[in-house]
């Protein structure tokens, strides 16, 4: 797989509490991206005031492309648009995203145009911008539930998102709570590789080889 040249990543961290496994995943992703020379917009959503998207559609009909409400939610579409890779971190919540992640995600509506077009048998809204970004999603479930019904719903949800967001490449992983740091790092490296980010361990190994040479 071709590696992405280093670019800009937007990390939407939807942790509701100190989820240890997601913390490991967060650190592994940050390490992997840093090793690859990526600039990361690391956004801990629970720390910010983002009003619920009110479903007013003013971002379509009044100020196209921009949320009409002036709070941190307004910046979601802008930060999203400027990224080459978007990352979601979330506890799997009934098979979906946490309310913390979703409060930001609901604000990506302005990246779409309001028009309806039929595409591959389903109606879709066209993308407002030509630029696309890869998508990487990590969710956590209780131990022993990685293949349970909620994990399966979660994977289906991410697949659904990709039909609307149209990432060139995407990857999803459901990790079990209690997974160790190393186990999480191995999973994250595999995910990063799927979206074209060279794993951190490879970068470290390469730099070691350069030193030896």
């Amino acid at each position: 797989m071709n590696a992405n040249p280093p670019g800009a990543a937007l990390l939407l961290d939807g942790r509701r509490d100190d989820d240890r496994t997601l913390a490991f995943a967060h650190d592994a992703i940050m390490d992997g991206l840093a090793a690859g020379g990526w600039a990361v917009d690391d956004w801990t959503l629970r720390d910010d005031r983002i009003a619920w998207c009110a479903g007013c559609f003013k971002c379509w009909t009044q100020t196209p492309g921009v949320c009409a409400h002036r709070d941190d939610g307004r910046t979601v579409a802008e930060r999203w648009t400027h990224s080459d890779l978007t990352i979601f971190l979330t506890p799997v919540t009934f098979g979906g995203y946490s309310s913390e992640l979703k409060k930001a995600l609901d604000h990506v509506l302005p990246i779409l145009q309001p028009f309806m077009q039929k595409r591959r048998g389903e109606t879709r809204h066209p993308q407002r911008y030509a630029r696309r970004r890869d998508l990487l999603v990590v969710g956590t479930v209780p131990a022993g539930q990685a293949e349970g019904p909620e994990a399966q719903t979660f994977r289906r949800l991410v697949e659904r998102n990709t039909r609307n967001m149209q990432p060139p490449r995407w990857a999803v992983a459901v990790l079990e709570s209690g997974a160790g740091d190393w186990e999480v790092r191995v999973a994250v490296d595999a995910l990063l590789a799927k979206v074209g980010v060279k794993p951190a361990r490879d970068a470290v190994d390469a730099s070691r080889q350069e030193v030896v040479a």
Binding site: R16, W52, C53, A54, G55, C56, F57, K58, W60, T61, Q62, T63, P64, G65, V66, A77, E78, T81, H82, T93, F94, G95, G96, Y97, S98, S99, K102, K103, L105, D106, V108, L109, Q113, P114, F115, M116, Q117, K118, E122, T123, R128, Y129, P149, E150, T153, R156, L157, R160, N161, N164
Partner: protein, 222 residues
């Protein structure tokens, strides 16, 4: 499930005024009332705003033996405040009984497929929270309702009205949402191609009326 004495409608739409989710759920509640079921309505956005409001939501859930959750599709899933309400309900101590839980999901797309994952999420919630799953209904082309009372649109929305009538009859008798109601609710009120044409015309008309210059295709962050 048993025949309910009290039903709670939880409206998951974040819209401050009239909403299609409120209209669909409200119609079902009126039909349940006609069959002797006491009803209460709570909006998710208000219920998660303060601790006091959340306590009110939890008390209402605890006293209901049927919860109807009506919400719009947001980015392939539930709106954030609706998820927050479900998180709070699931985290609260389980009620003595196991209330029945019904989900109604509507979206502006003319196909029901978009909403299926959201219904699955509701089903998972019901299991996690110790509720009894009583079924889910999906309405496509929700733009046809546009927050208006369903009774006002009877002719155009006759399949949805019939679906909700059948649902009320079944739930009031202690039965789950009938398959026929699911089928009727999923029936598009007009052909998809016509709906897309009308929707696109509608967006242009709204922009002409409300837009502050530029174009519907503006790229402010390009």
């Amino acid at each position: 499930m048993k025949a309910p004495k009290k039903a709670l409608l939880l409206v998951g739409s974040p819209k401050p005024g009239d909403s299609t989710s409120g209209s669909l759920g409200g119609y079902l509640l009126e039909e349940l009332e006609k069959r002797g079921v006491a009803t209460e309505t709570i909006r998710a956005t208000k219920a998660v705003r303060t601790e006091e409001a959340t306590e009110g939501l939890l008390a209402a859930v605890a006293s209901a033996d049927l919860v109807v959750f009506s919400f719009p599709l947001y980015i392939d899933s539930l709106p954030a405040p609706a998820i927050r309400a479900l998180e709070l309900i699931a985290e609260a101590p389980a009620a003595a009984g196991a209330p029945a839980f019904v989900a109604i999901c509507q979206s502006g797309f003319p196909e029901v497929d978009h909403n299926e994952v959201a219904i699955e999420i509701c089903r998972n919630f019901a299991r996690d929270a110790g509720f009894e799953w009583a079924g889910g209904l999906i309405l496509a082309a929700g733009g046809m309702v546009g927050g208006q009372p369903l009774r006002k649109l009877q002719g155009m929305m006759r399949s949805a009205v019939k679906a909700l009538d059948l649902t009320a009859e079944a739930l009031a008798a202690g039965r789950s949402v009938p398959d026929e109601a699911v089928r009727l609710m999923a029936k598009p009120p007009i052909p998809k191609i016509g709906y897309r044409f009308m929707a696109n015309w509608g967006w242009r008309a709204q922009f002409k009326k409300r837009g502050r210059g530029g174009s519907l295709k503006d790229q402010p962050f390009a």
